[in-house]
């Protein structure tokens, strides 16, 4: 049982009998000017659950205002330990800010993010210029290793996914076209679809998940291990040393992977048409050849180059700006993939509009 009495500027709490986590406490809230005296000479038994709720009730009192010398020794020692440092709650400025200030704060933080992004892109452009002038420093061994990882090692997954996309396009298209007896045009549908945009988009999505994530995780882990600090204090540009070889590797491998994706997609379409829709192979090849336009193919490859740049920039940006713990590396990896895909879709929209305007 806890009895609370107020005498002048002192609150006297008398603790008696059996005390546990369910014992009700009626200690008033935060009263900084009040002193609190805990008396416990008649306590029969107590447990740490009670000390927990007692500490919770007293934590906002200044420790010099609390007297607990008349408590059982164990309880007094526990409270003394718990009160050794002043109670300090983390400030949550957003909860206290008025609505307009919160909006302003979000705006300021957004502008900081935009500034950081633009600074990073500027650094990359400067590095590129340095590379053209032969002044950028990175190890060629690193470049070949990165190229091998995002080029040859991606062939299998890009081939498989593109084959399946071609197959799906052919199935879905043929079901509709069959109603008009025009299932032979599936070959044109798959060829135009894959070469113009689907090959590039699918390769982009695969590379964002595979390579972009790997860039962010690798560079993020380097941040955690202070390797980026080491580079900076050695006077070596992290953009030259880490971003440039990754950007170059993706810019080189993306067009080749897109070529492969286009071919595998067309092969997937052929597989469906020949095996399931009884279209002769020669007919499929004839319609494919007729629907293959260099313009479409080059537009697809150009998309791929842009996507490669986006994936490399997003992966490296989130890696370089990663925090210094394991959680941050996970977050950086996720952001690298999500932002890469979002920016690829946005750029696809913009490029499609531009191509339409230019009549390409």
């Amino acid at each position: 049982m806890v009895e609370v009495k107020t005498q002048g500027d002192t609150i006297i709490c008398t603790l008696e009998g059996v005390l546990s986590g369910t014992t009700p406490l009626n200690i008033p809230g935060v009263l900084h000017n009040k002193k609190i005296q805990l008396l416990g000479s008649n306590i029969e038994s107590w447990n740490t659950d009670f000390v927990v709720i007692l500490f919770d009730a007293l934590k906002h009192f200044p420790k010099e205002n609390i007297s607990y010398s008349q408590l059982p020794q164990g309880m007094e020692q526990l409270l003394r330990l718990a009160f050794q440092t002043p109670h300090q709650e983390k400030e949550t400025p957003h909860a206290k800010l008025p609505f307009l200030e919160r909006v302003g704060d979000i705006g300021i933080r957004f502008s900081h993010c935009v500034k950081k992004g633009c600074t990073f892109i500027h650094e990359c452009l400067v590095s590129w210029a340095r590379q053209l002038a032969g002044k950028a420093v990175y190890r060629s061994k690193d470049f070949w290793m990165i190229l091998a990882d995002c080029g040859p090692k991606s062939i299998l997954i890009v081939s498989l996914i593109s084959f399946m996309v071609g197959l799906i396009l052919a199935f879905v298209g043929a079901i509709q076209l069959k109603t008009f007896g025009a299932q032979i045009y599936v070959a044109s549908l798959v060829t135009i679809g894959m070469t113009r945009i689907m090959g590039a988009i699918m390769t982009g999505v695969i590379m964002a998940g595979r390579t972009g994530a790997s860039y962010a995780a690798t560079i993020g882990t380097m941040q955690v291990n202070e390797e980026l600090d080491a580079l900076q204090t050695m006077g070596i540009s992290r953009t030259d040393f880490l971003v440039l070889p990754r950007m170059n590797a993706l810019l080189l491998s993306m067009p080749i992977l897109i070529l492969l994706a286009d071919f595998m997609g067309i092969l997937g379409g052929c597989f469906v048409c020949v095996l399931f829709w009884d279209i002769p192979l020669a007919e499929y090849i004839k319609y494919t050849t007729n629907s293959f336009y260099l313009n479409n193919f080059l537009v697809g490859v150009f998309h791929g180059v842009v996507f490669g740049l986006i994936i490399a920039l997003c992966g490296c940006y989130f890696g370089v700006h990663c925090g210094r713990n394991a959680d941050s590396v996970g977050a950086a990896t996720t952001k690298a993939v999500v932002y890469s895909i979002v920016w690829m879709i946005v750029m696809t929209g913009l490029l499609t509009m531009a191509c339409q305007r230019l009549g390409v």
Binding site: E227, T233, M234
Partner: protein, 256 residues
């Protein structure tokens, strides 16, 4: 003869973004000194180190290194300072994708026009200096934490710097490895005349290697003591320094 100061700070305020962690930091580091930056956990020792090495900007005040204004100087002058400095990070910060030889060779390849053969010779010598002779082809993941620190030191010494910074060199090391690293620091200071700046709160290291020191006080957010650590222990200028240098044990004895 008057000592030549290799580093001088005046009214330096340091911190992250808008938050000031330490202010009014004014101290001089003589050339060839072993200078300890000490203080309790979270007092701003590593932040001071990061500011001195140019990783984060100072809020205000000035830093002069080798006579160069390290805050407002032009990038070329700062690069010269960087070339004459080496840093051993807490974790070693070796590049995990490179062998020890490639790690040590990196600053040499960046700043010198030595032939690959000459670089290999220097790398082998620097690794031998830190007790890692023959470890050129090893990757950081293949060696122990203490060896990683020594390899990091070999990289820091690659360009024969005038100043070497150590961030918590004893962290994560057993007492023997920690003592060996302290001995190595003393040897490097003695034989090469390198100015050593060590951020640590390891008392055994502080007393074993420190010639001069500053004590950063978290409460007052500034330097609360300067001088030789052994002298500070004999004549502590305030209670915080006394508590820190005696691990609070003498204080407990007194209260008993």
């Amino acid at each position: 003869m008057k000592e030549k100061m290799i580093i001088r700070t005046e009214n330096l305020s340091i911190g992250y973004e808008d938050k000031i962690i330490m202010k009014d930091l004014s101290f001089d580091i003589p050339q060839g000194d072993i200078f300890i930056i000490m203080g309790g956990s979270g007092c701003g020792k590593s932040t001071l180190l990061r500011t001195l090495t140019g990783l984060i900007p100072a809020h205000s005040g000035s830093i002069w290194i080798r006579g160069t204004d390290f805050i407002n100087g032009n990038p070329q002058e700062k690069l010269e300072v960087i070339k004459h400095s080496g840093i051993l990070y807490q974790s070693g910060a070796l590049f995990s994708s490179m062998t020890l030889a490639e790690n040590v060779a990196l600053p040499l390849a960046q700043y010198t026009s030595y032939s690959p053969d000459k670089i290999n010779q220097i790398v082998a010598f620097k690794l031998a200096l830190v007790g890692l002779a023959g470890y050129e082809a090893y990757y950081p993941s293949e060696i122990s934490g203490g060896m990683r620190k020594r390899a990091g030191l070999a990289r820091a010494l690659a360009l024969d710097p005038e100043i070497v910074y150590f961030d918590e060199p004893s962290a994560g090391l057993d007492p023997i490895s920690s003592k060996n690293l302290d001995d190595l620091i003393l040897e490097i200071n003695k034989t090469l005349g390198t100015t050593i700046i060590v951020v640590t709160h390891e008392l055994s290291s502080i007393f074993a290697i420190g010639k001069n020191s500053i004590f950063l006080d978290k409460k007052t957010q500034t330097i609360s003591a300067k001088g030789n650590p052994n002298e500070l222990l004999k004549n502590p200028p305030n209670e915080q320094v006394y508590e820190f240098l005696t691990r609070g044990e003498h204080d407990e004895e007194r209260t008993k």
